[in-house]
């Protein structure tokens, strides 16, 4: 049983890691793109974020896996994990972009003025001044969203990927013993706590004192 659950856990972790690693940088990118682009592109980005945050993730997963190939048969992808992960990334990018937007708004206007008069290059300014200050503000929200992602990974069962929760369910179904649920719950708890802890440590380092 443990071996099976661990195998499920691995799938869950893999999905979490892939989504996290792609959603954060693309969320940042989207946030800066939104800030620095023409009205039309800003409108497109806002619409994208609006749709992604305003519809169920489950629906988005279904749409990508079952819906899209019906309209465009060439988009039929058989790797369920890949499609699922892609749907997660599309969704979480929107959430992270929104979080970062709040962080960016919080950076004092004077910082941008200092950057300008001191002729600090854009790249250096973004990575060494703006992003660290944004992070300090939005780290708690990023932490919340990351914990939500850990739990949301279970939704990928809907297109037939067997992850931790599905594994537990299958075991419970065949053994008529709910112990597998308890173990799965403990595993989720452990991962979420680990994520929380990592963010707490990072938060301390971003105090600038």
């Amino acid at each position: 049983m443990f071996i099976e659950l661990l195998r499920g856990l691995l799938v869950t972790l893999e999905l979490f890691a892939v989504c996290w690693v792609f959603s954060i940088p693309f969320g940042l990118l989207l946030c800066f793109a939104r800030k620095n682009s023409l009205k039309f592109f800003r409108f497109l980005i806002d619409t994208y974020i609006w749709i992604m945050r305003g519809t169920p993730l489950l629906l988005q997963i279904f749409f990508l896996f079952y819906g899209l190939p019906l309209i465009f048969p060439m988009l039929q992808v058989n790797d369920r994990f890949l499609v699922g992960a892609f749907a997660f990334i599309l969704n979480y990018v929107a959430y992270f972009a929104e979080i970062f937007r709040g962080g960016l708004k919080n950076v004092d206007k004077g910082q941008f003025e200092s950057i300008k008069v001191l002729k600090i290059s854009k790249l250096k300014a973004v990575f060494r001044i703006i992003i660290p200050q944004m992070l300090r503000v939005c780290l708690p929200s990023i932490c919340n969203e990351s914990v939500a992602l850990v739990k949301d990974t279970a939704l990928i069962f809907s297109i037939g990927v067997i992850e931790l929760l599905t594994t537990a369910k299958n075991i419970v179904n065949s053994s008529a013993d709910i112990f597998a649920y308890v173990v799965a719950a403990a595993m989720y708890l452990f991962i979420c706590s680990l994520v929380n802890l990592a963010f707490k440590i990072f938060e301390k380092r971003l105090k600038f004192e």
Partner: protein
């Protein structure tokens, strides 16, 4: 020869006129103070002179080079070259809070020798690894001054340098400004602190 010439410059925000047909000039190596009560556009004027705001009409000449002529700005590369002659110490300093004292200077120009000597000279050497939130008001101001000096400007603008200081530090900033001035820096100070103006040996402009 003049370091700065502002000729008939105009500035509006929407419909409200901040200044109109303003003229003033600063000679090389002199200290100029610009006084006027709150909301008269003193900060706006400084911001126009360092390129953070655009004027709506008039001419600005810095060290003989035209930044704007009759409301038309120079090409952006030329602007950047002309503006490299000016440095500004903001009213609230606008230090980078996520960088240490040294980091605030390194990000402008990574010149360790220069940074060390400036930190020593301005009494900040032993606070080099502290973050701005942990240093005193006077120290923050000195850091802002050093940071403005990193790019070797010939003019340094100060916006309300005494507004965040107590009595002791006020004497200090007068001393610093005089010292910088004796090193050929041209200094332009905007303030409404008349006591402070009395301490400086400066040409005074009043903005109405």
């Amino acid at each position: 020869m003049n370091m700065i010439d502002a000729i008939n410059i105009n500035k509006r925000f929407g419909n409200s006129i901040i200044f109109e047909n303003l003229n003033f000039s600063v000679e090389k190596g002199e200290i100029v103070t610009i006084v006027g009560s709150s909301g008269r556009g003193k900060s706006t004027l400084l911001r126009c002179l360092v390129g953070l705001e655009k004027i709506d009409g008039g001419t600005i000449i810095i060290d003989g080079k035209k930044l704007v002529e009759d409301g038309v700005y120079a090409k952006s590369r030329d602007q950047s070259k002309i503006l490299s002659e000016v440095g500004i110490v903001f009213q609230n300093y606008n230090l980078f809070p996520n960088l240490t004292v040294r980091g605030n200077l390194e990000i402008v120009k990574n010149d360790g020798k220069k940074i060390d000597s400036l930190l020593r000279r301005f009494g900040l050497y032993d606070r080099a690894s502290a973050y701005p939130s942990t240093i005193s008001g006077g120290q923050k101001q000195r850091l802002a001054i050093i940071r403005a000096m990193m790019l070797d400007p010939r003019i340094i603008f100060f916006d309300e340098p005494t507004s965040a200081l107590d009595e002791d530090n006020r004497g200090e900033i007068v001393k610093l400004i005089n010292e910088l001035n004796s090193e050929q820096y041209t200094i332009v100070v905007v303030t409404h602190d008349m006591q402070f103006v009395d301490c400086l040996n400066s040409k005074i402009y009043e903005i109405q």
